[in-house]
């Protein structure tokens, strides 16, 4: 505080001394910037090695398929996702919604704890015409609004199709969370950065399926590679009647659905 008060008086007497001080301070700043710049920027990449991944992302184009007619709502995918990716409590990278549609057409939708601990019978008293589960996750849209709004380039799409968040760049502003029409993103309360489904990028690049796909006991979740002609997902996408969520938004979701109903958004 005292130094701040002294400053205005010292600036008055002579211009020359101040310029000298200014130059001295500038030189000190530039010196510090140079040393920090060299050490801080070059070191991490020397240590991490950018090109250490043997996996070639140009040879893959990942897509996801959900067969809602098979889902039993057990929540194994939600639990596996949390364990695999350290997802904080009450946040979800994938979740299951239950739709119960009454004879009169009224729809009841719920997702207790994201379906993580299963579902209990509903006693709404309504006469149910049809009911089904819909697992949801990030759609990894090809024309995604979430990466467009990121002001610091923390959110991006990889060449093999995954939409990821760089948690070292993310400033936690939350624009992407608001931009996502599917509610697929959350703000991690511990790191204060945006979190979302990565399609288990660390598993996919090792030749494994995403954790949710690997644990699904009924095969309701399918992961595949559009660039691999032998992948069975291409046969399904080519011959079955698939849909995406909210196609009117033109986000080009890369997560496809079998057996969607009108009520599902």
């Amino acid at each position: 505080m005292s130094e701040n008060k002294r400053c205005p008086e010292e600036t008055k007497p002579g211009v020359a001394t101040n310029r000298r001080d200014f130059l001295k301070q500038s030189a000190a700043f530039v010196g510090a910037a140079v040393s920090f710049g060299v050490v801080g920027v070059i070191l991490p990449d020397d240590v991490l090695g950018v090109e250490t991944v043997a996996y070639d992302w140009n040879k893959h184009r990942w897509v996801y398929l959900v067969d809602t007619t098979k889902c039993i709502g057990c929540g194994a995918c939600v639990r596996a996702c949390r364990a695999e990716n350290d997802v904080p409590e009450h946040m979800y990278r994938t979740w299951i919604e239950r739709y119960e549609i009454a004879v009169e057409g009224e729809a009841h939708v719920d997702s207790p704890e994201g379906g993580e601990f299963g579902f209990h019978p509903l006693t709404s008293g309504m006469e149910i015409r049809k009911a089904f589960f819909v697992p949801k996750l990030c759609n990894h849209c090809e024309a995604t609004p979430c990466t467009q709004v990121c002001p610091v380039g923390a959110s991006y799409t990889t060449r093999d199709g995954a939409v990821l968040v760089d948690d070292k760049r993310c400033i936690g502003c939350g624009y992407c969370i608001q931009a996502c029409p599917y509610g697929s993103r959350y703000l991690n309360p511990q790191t204060r950065t945006a979190g979302k489904c990565t399609w288990c990028y660390h598993r996919v690049t090792e030749g494994l399926e995403p954790a949710c796909v690997a644990v699904c006991p009924v095969g309701a979740r399918i992961f595949g590679d559009r660039k691999n002609p032998d992948d069975s997902i291409n046969e399904i996408l080519a011959t079955k009647r698939v849909q995406v969520l909210q196609p009117e938004l033109l986000t080009k979701p890369q997560c496809f659905y079998l057996g969607l109903d009108m009520e599902v958004r």
Binding site: V30, A33, V34, F36, G37, G40, V41, I42, P44, D45, L48, V50, T52, V53, Y55, W57, T69, C71, I72, G73, C74, G75, A76, A80, A83, E84, N85, R98, Y99, E100, F117, G118, F119, H120, P121, I128, A131, F132, F133, G153, A154, S155, Y156, T158, R159, L164, D166, K168, R169, T198, Y201, H202, R203, T205, E206, A211, A214, V215, P217, V218
Partner: protein, 161 residues
């Protein structure tokens, strides 16, 4: 220098040039300080993050990671009615239990009806092909005692029915 010399303003031009040079140097240094090295390598994001993402530890090893130590359970499980359910669905990710072929902690054994009911509680939203029960009715019909481990009185979880 002569007062009327055509070079009498040179020093001013020289000063402006110096200032410009200093500004350019400051810009380059500032950029290298604030912009991460791999930013822009593949697009307008930090290219180094791709390999950082891929380096995250794999937690679920799948059934093949259990087989080497638990061959009997593996054989029984893959032949039974629960063959579509991998070990880690009911137990826990293998990374909590073993690392580098060494056991690091006990694997949880959930002997609870709640675990079974995650898949087998009768729900309207479940496909008809899924085996489902109403727990109380099922116990009454089959003479079971209600309790947290009631399912295991009749069913072997690795190979039920």
């Amino acid at each position: 220098m002569e007062p009327n010399s055509p070079l009498r303003h040179t020093k001013h031009v020289f000063r402006v040039g110096l200032l410009l040079l200093a500004a350019i140097v400051a810009l380059i240094l500032g950029r290298s300080f604030f912009v991460p090295e791999t930013f822009g390598q593949y697009g307008s994001y930090r290219g180094g993050n791709v390999s950082e993402q891929a380096a995250h530890q794999v937690r679920h090893g799948g059934r093949q990671s259990c087989e080497p130590c638990h061959a009997d359970e593996f054989e029984e499980q893959t032949a039974g009615g629960h063959r579509a359910v991998t070990c880690e669905v009911c137990h826990a990710p293998v990374s909590l239990h073993a690392r580098n072929d060494e056991k690091i902690a006990d694997m949880p054994m959930h002997r609870s009806a709640d675990l079974c009911l995650l898949c087998h509680q009768e729900l309207k939203a479940r496909p008809g092909s899924q085996p489902q029960i109403q727990p109380r009715q099922h116990l009454e019909e089959n003479g079971g005692e209600p309790g947290p481990e009631s399912c295991f009185e009749c069913h072997e979880p690795h190979s039920p029915l």
